[in-house]
């Protein structure tokens, strides 16, 4: 297992939130990788599970703010997939891997940065213990 954290984000609000984050000067450690999809609604369990089983430490699904999905409720659909994968991981006892859903608006650079770093820190703490 590598320590990389994959951020799968949509091409709308979440993309803009990431851009805003970098514009504001908040930086991510290199273990974070980003990948763009048209909408987080196109994320499913296969995509999350295969990324994790292929070695990613964690996958963060980053979507638009809840009521703001361009495709109506793609982000909410993604949240349900993330919830199922969380359950699968815990049932399978797949320790040390995680999956999270994050909603971000394009004006939330700082908060997004804190949230993402939080996942990295939580992962590290787990690794040490």
């Amino acid at each position: 297992m590598s320590d990389s954290i994959l951020i799968v984000h949509c091409a709308e609000g979440a993309k803009k939130a990431l851009a805003r984050m970098t514009e504001e000067g908040y930086k991510l450690p290199p273990r974070f990788k980003t990948f763009e999809l048209p909408c987080t609604g196109s994320v499913n369990e296969v995509l999350l599970m295969e990324n994790l089983s292929n070695g990613a430490k964690g996958v963060v699904v980053l979507g638009c703010r809840k009521e703001n999905c361009k495709h109506l409720d793609g982000n909410l659909k993604a949240e349900r997939k993330v919830a199922r994968v969380k359950r699968l991981l815990s049932e399978a006892g797949a320790e040390g891997r995680f999956v999270e859903m994050v909603y971000a608006a394009p004006d939330e650079g700082k908060r997004l940065h804190e949230t993402l770093l939080g996942f990295a820190r939580a992962g590290e703490a787990e690794g040490k213990s």
């Binding site: 994959l6 709308e12 514009e23 450690p29 995509l47 990324n51 009521e67 793609g74």
Partner: protein, 524 residues
């Protein structure tokens, strides 16, 4: 066309980073299975045509700063290099790579991973060869109120034929005529114009079934089982205002009605705003106009009590000032109490800015705007037609990324009251903007499907209809003869939700197939 991908990076140091180590990157990229060539451009924004001529006709992965995208540089470059959608991929390298990571040693790794990942996506993509689809040149308008009539007339002027459907009686503008809210002279004028227009057909008291997306627009079923085809649909239903929540109070509809009938409104009048929720600016504007009319007609004492006092609309400040000049008393309140003891009615509260308390004794009339939304029959119609509702009230989802008049059916536009609380001027402007959006859809060249359109592998499809159920745009249909799901390419918005939900993995998004996406993610 050569199979290898050409990566082009801009190295103008607009961002704070140092120059790209082009030679080093090229060396490392040589191992790549997808990216064949790397070109580092200095100041890509300045005439790259010459520099890129050599690679014209190859698939190009372009990376630069956000300015390139904003300035329309990419589309210009694609045009000049003769690249169709699917043959060029662009990425905001400066902000998403160079600025994202604090460790400068990691930048190179990330950049390579990124080029590799996007290179895979591009390598497997295909240039778009879709022919634009021409929509049928007729429009269905649901609702014959002010905005419906206005839109019908504008469209008929464009030689588009319009079917105007009204479920109530009389067949044209029943709501407006019943309430007399909008100037009756104007309504009469519009209705007679519509009646005489050769391009507008009126369907009184029609019963409609669900709207179904098809390639050339929509089919709509009518009462007798008749199926008609349209290029576009406008949903312009009836709005209604809920009664004021205080007994004896008026809502705005009741107030307008009295104003319209020129019945006197005298004495101490209190507009009580923000009682339940924040009052939208257009309502404040309405109230100021009403206040002005009342003041002009009688010696009323007018109070406007607000909690929020948002001034957002252009011209509102002006109205506000005017009203002040007229002697309307504006009070911002907190801790408001309404007391009614044996007919002795008192409104008390505090002004949070001054801290002073105020008391209004025995007002002659309290006007509390009710929440405004679609009427019950309009909501019913929206449900029947398959339109999604927002907060159970409006058909236009509240989203930063959607056009103001889009419904969840691409090509079904919502208009007037279906978009919320609007005054007369707003409705007219709204009708005009819907007509504009619709004309853009019906341009003679037709509409081109989006790049990441869904495609169904007929061999894998088990015809379970999961995709048909989950598509937010009703863009997935059934191919009854082949027994497979079939996307309506003109309605598909390329969100990929159907592909994610398909249990047989039979759906792929064009230029974004699941194998490519996974491989690209691995490349990171």
């Amino acid at each position: 066309m050569s199979d290898s991908i050409v990566a082009v990076l801009c190295d103008q140091q607009c961002s704070s980073k140092g120059p790209l180590q082009a030679a080093n990157l090229t060396k490392r990229l040589a191992k790549s299975s997808t990216v064949g060539k790397l070109i580092v451009l200095d100041k890509a924004c300045q005439d790259p045509e010459k520099k890129l001529k050599k690679v014209a006709g190859q698939k190009i992965l372009f990376g630069g700063c956000p300015y390139l995208e904003e300035s329309g540089f990419y589309s210009l470059a694609a045009e000049k290099l003769g690249l169709r959608p699917g043959e060029m991929l662009v990425t905001d390298v400066k902000s998403s790579i160079l600025d994202l990571y604090d460790s400068s040693t990691a930048i190179e790794d990330n950049l390579i991973g990124r080029l590799e990942s996007l290179g895979r996506l591009l390598a497997d993509s295909a240039g778009l060869k879709d022919r634009p689809v021409k929509l049928k040149r007729n429009v269905l308008i649901f609702g014959s109120g002010y905005s419906g009539l206005k839109a019908a007339l504008e469209l008929s002027g464009e030689k588009l034929s319009v079917d105007l459907v009204e479920t109530e009686d009389p067949p044209l503008a029943p709501g407006c005529l019943a309430e007399g809210l909008v100037c009756p002279g104007l309504i009469k004028e519009l209705t007679s114009e519509v009646r005489t227009s050769e391009h507008v057909a009126v369907f009184p008291q029609a019963q409609m079934g669900p709207i179904q997306s098809v390639e050339k627009g929509f089919t709509v079923s009518f009462g007798g089982g008749e199926l008609r085809e349209y290029g576009a649909v406008i949903f312009a239903p009836e709005r209604s205002e809920a009664p004021a929540d205080q007994i004896g109070a008026w809502n705005l509809t009741q107030l307008y009605k009295r104003l319209h009938e020129r019945r006197p409104i005298k004495g101490r009048i209190v507009f009580l705003l923000d009682r339940r929720s924040e009052t939208p600016p257009e309502v404040i504007q309405d109230i100021l106009i009403a206040a002005k009319v009342i003041k002009e007609r009688s010696h009323a004492e007018l109070w406007i009590l607000l909690k929020q006092m948002r001034v957002a609309l252009p011209g509102l400040q002006e109205l506000y000032d005017t009203a002040r000049e007229m002697g309307v008393i504006f009070v911002k309140y907190e801790n408001l109490r309404l007391q009614n003891e044996f007919g002795d009615f008192q409104i008390t509260g505090e002004d949070p800015q001054t801290g002073a308390s105020f008391r209004i004794s025995n007002p002659d009339r309290v006007i509390i705007p009710g929440t405004s939304g679609l009427s019950a029959s309009a909501l019913n119609a929206a449900e029947t037609l398959g339109l999604r509702l927002l907060n159970g009230q409006y058909t236009q989802p509240y989203s930063l990324w959607r056009l103001a008049n889009e419904s969840n059916h691409p090509g079904v536009l919502v208009c007037g009251s279906a978009r919320g609380n609007m005054d007369g001027g707003g409705v007219a402007a709204d009708a005009a903007s819907v007509v504009q959006a619709l004309k853009a859809r019906m341009i003679p060249e037709g509409i081109t499907p989006v790049e990441h359109i869904a495609s169904v592998d007929a061999d894998k499809c088990v015809y379970c209809l999961t995709c048909v159920r989950v598509c937010p745009y009703h863009a997935m249909g059934k191919n009854i003869e082949e027994r497979v799901a079939q996307p309506v390419t003109t309605a598909c918005q390329g969100c990929g939700i159907c592909a994610a939900e398909c249990p047989a993995e039979a759906i792929d998004m064009r230029n974004l197939s699941r194998e490519t996406v996974l491989a690209a993610m691995q490349a990171l």
